[in-house]
């Protein structure tokens, strides 16, 4: 590097001394990195053994993946492309209805879960609740709701409530309660208490204090987190149908299990487009709510 573009190289003895210093300074960091890499390598081998990774099978069958992608490509010819597209999307009205159902499931689940999380977040916030046990209880409850995946709730609820989108909504709502309750309570714990004092000093009642001092501080963050969750829930609602809990998932599972190749790609494209549009829309609104800052 030393002799590049008109830079005078250092005298050799000086360079040797400097690079010796550099090597010594980086040796410790290098050893740490190597140790970390060794640990990761050992874990990888272990995980590979447990997860039955078969590189040979993979190499043998990777052709199948491209073949599968090729098979699900829509059969659109050059002679009459419009008719082909129409044939590809033969089930469009039904699929759009199911897609609408999926989005409604995500919406209702987010709304119900958001309301429950809103209520619980105030109980779980350290600066508002004095009782330690109540707070810890609320936190653990939220943790359980958050850790058990929504599909597991859906599996249990399908048996209790019967098949249908209502089950999907309830499962999403419970998971959302856990996820949003945690984020909400963190927001509540970080509010500035001065506006609260100021309002109560200028004659406001408790309700007015909450309305004008607490809500304005937390509402934009709450709305932004709820929108982010809505986006995630649309994705989650798309697969609720795999366990019989409504939405477009059921139709997709049938298509993929019965090798209706064109239907697989048609529904997949619809799902991807929907998620895309909702992503973009919520990102716009969130940026307006909290300013252009990621997450």
């Amino acid at each position: 590097m030393g002799s590049a573009r008109g830079l005078t190289p250092l005298p050799p003895e000086r360079e040797a001394a400097l690079s010796g210093l550099y090597a010594r300074a980086t040796a410790a960091a290098r050893r740490r990195t190597l140790a970390g890499l060794a640990i990761v390598a050992v874990l990888t081998v272990l995980a590979g053994l447990i997860a039955e990774v078969r590189p040979l099978v993979f190499a043998e069958n990777i052709g199948k993946f491209t073949a599968y992608i090729y098979q699900i490509l829509p059969p659109i010819g050059l002679e009459h492309p419009l008719e082909d597209v129409r044939a590809w999307y033969w089930g469009l009205p039904k699929w759009l209805g199911l897609l609408g159902e999926t989005i409604l499931m995500a919406y209702l689940g987010t709304l119900l879960g958001g309301l429950a999380g809103f209520a619980l977040s105030f109980v779980a916030a350290a600066n508002l609740v004095r009782s330690r046990w109540l707070r810890i209880g609320a936190k653990r409850l939220l943790e359980v709701c958050r850790t058990v995946p929504e599909v597991v709730f859906a599996l249990i609820f399908v048996i209790a409530f019967g098949l249908g989108p209502m089950v999907g909504v309830l499962a999403i709502a419970i998971h959302t309660t856990g996820a949003l309750g945690k984020l909400f309570s963190e927001v509540v714990e970080n509010i500035d208490l001065r506006p609260v004092e100021g309002l109560s000093a200028s004659g406001a009642s408790w309700v007015q204090t909450v309305r004008f001092a607490v809500l304005p501080q937390v509402l934009s963050n709450f709305a932004s987190y709820a929108l982010l969750r809505f986006e995630i829930n649309v994705r989650g609602a798309g697969v609720m149908g795999f366990v019989g809990a409504g939405g477009i998932g059921q139709e997709f599972l049938v298509a993929i299990r019965n090798f209706y190749y064109a239907d697989v790609s048609a529904i997949l494209v619809l799902i991807i487009l929907t998620v895309f549009c909702i992503d973009l829309a919520t990102e716009r609104v969130r940026h307006r709510l909290i300013g252009p800052e990621p997450h």
Partner: protein
């Protein structure tokens, strides 16, 4: 602290009319804002009502189901593996293996691609637009759908699960990585170029040291969340503890189900704890 505000409040109350007269702007009602708020609330409620009607909600069903859930809760006690402890433990290990391999593969794939998607490395707007949209497509397909696709390729089993997680996280990590690279300070890179480094040197010595801790912390965070998603991937037959969970729920072996859920909760909590520690070590106490 309570005496002074009380006195101030009383004074403000007594003086309210004159305050209103003195600061009309502060007391004026903003009808336009209220109409917007009412419209928004109406929209939210209207959509909720539409959902309630379209998704066949009924209070009777909910109450009936709640009763059954109550009886399930009784059946869950006490949680016990009923002699299958080692099977479950192996399945849990498989789940962790799936999450680990999937996250690692996703991170390794996403690392080079993220540089292509970063505006400050590849200045060509078309290139990074295309890479970004590609990542978005990978990301918007759910893990379970990826699992179904990979099962067609490598057969049933945990390997398909690991590949599924790798695919969907490749998109998510690629996006996050490229955002981290874009927000990076450009001065070290300029310094490297000024002292004669090539653009590869700029990336190696000016960008990577700055972004690596952030990326590593994001990968750890994804590993955490992937242990959760790896528990459900067995539902479609892609290995891990989800397989047992599904079957046992279907046949209402609820004691074993409760035991499995407890195992998952403990494992996830343990991994959360370890990875929070590691992330603190990587990027300082700011990590949550």
């Amino acid at each position: 602290m309570s005496a002074r505000p009380e006195a101030l409040r009383a004074a403000a109350r007594a003086d309210l009319d004159r305050l209103r007269a003195r600061y009309p702007a502060q007391f004026r009602i903003d009808w336009a804002a209220r109409a917007r708020l009412a419209g928004l609330l109406g929209l939210l409620l209207g959509l909720a009502a539409l959902g309630y009607w379209r998704l066949d909600f009924s209070m009777a069903r909910i109450f009936h189901g709640l009763g059954r859930l109550g009886s399930f809760a009784v059946l869950m006690l006490p949680p016990s593996p009923e002699g299958q402890f080692w099977t479950f433990l192996h399945a849990l290990g498989e789940t962790l293996g799936i999450a680990f391999l999937g996250t690692l593969a996703a991170a390794i794939l996403a690392f080079p691609v993220a540089f292509l998607a970063a505006r400050n490395v590849v200045p060509n707007p078309f290139a990074h637009f295309a890479v970004r949209r590609g990542l978005d497509v990978m990301r918007s397909v759910d893990v379970l759908i990826w699992a179904l696709i990979w099962i067609n390729v490598v057969g049933l089993g945990p390997f398909a699960g690991a590949l599924a997680i790798a695919c969907s996280d490749f998109g998510a990590l690629g996006k996050l990585f490229s955002e981290a690279i874009e927000t990076c300070d450009r001065k070290p890179g300029e310094g490297v170029v000024a002292s004669g480094g090539s653009s590869l040197h700029r990336i190696r010595f000016g960008l990577i040291p700055a972004v690596l801790p952030v990326l590593a912390s994001q990968v750890l965070y994804f590993f955490e969340s992937n242990t959760r998603s790896a528990t459900i991937i067995g539902i479609v037959g892609a290995g891990g503890i989800g397989q047992y969970l599904t079957e046992l729920i279907r046949v209402l072996e609820l004691k074993q189900v409760a035991f499995l859920v407890l195992m998952i909760l403990v494992t996830v909590a343990a991994i959360d704890w370890v990875s929070t520690r590691l992330r603190r070590g990587l990027i300082g106490p700011a990590a949550r």
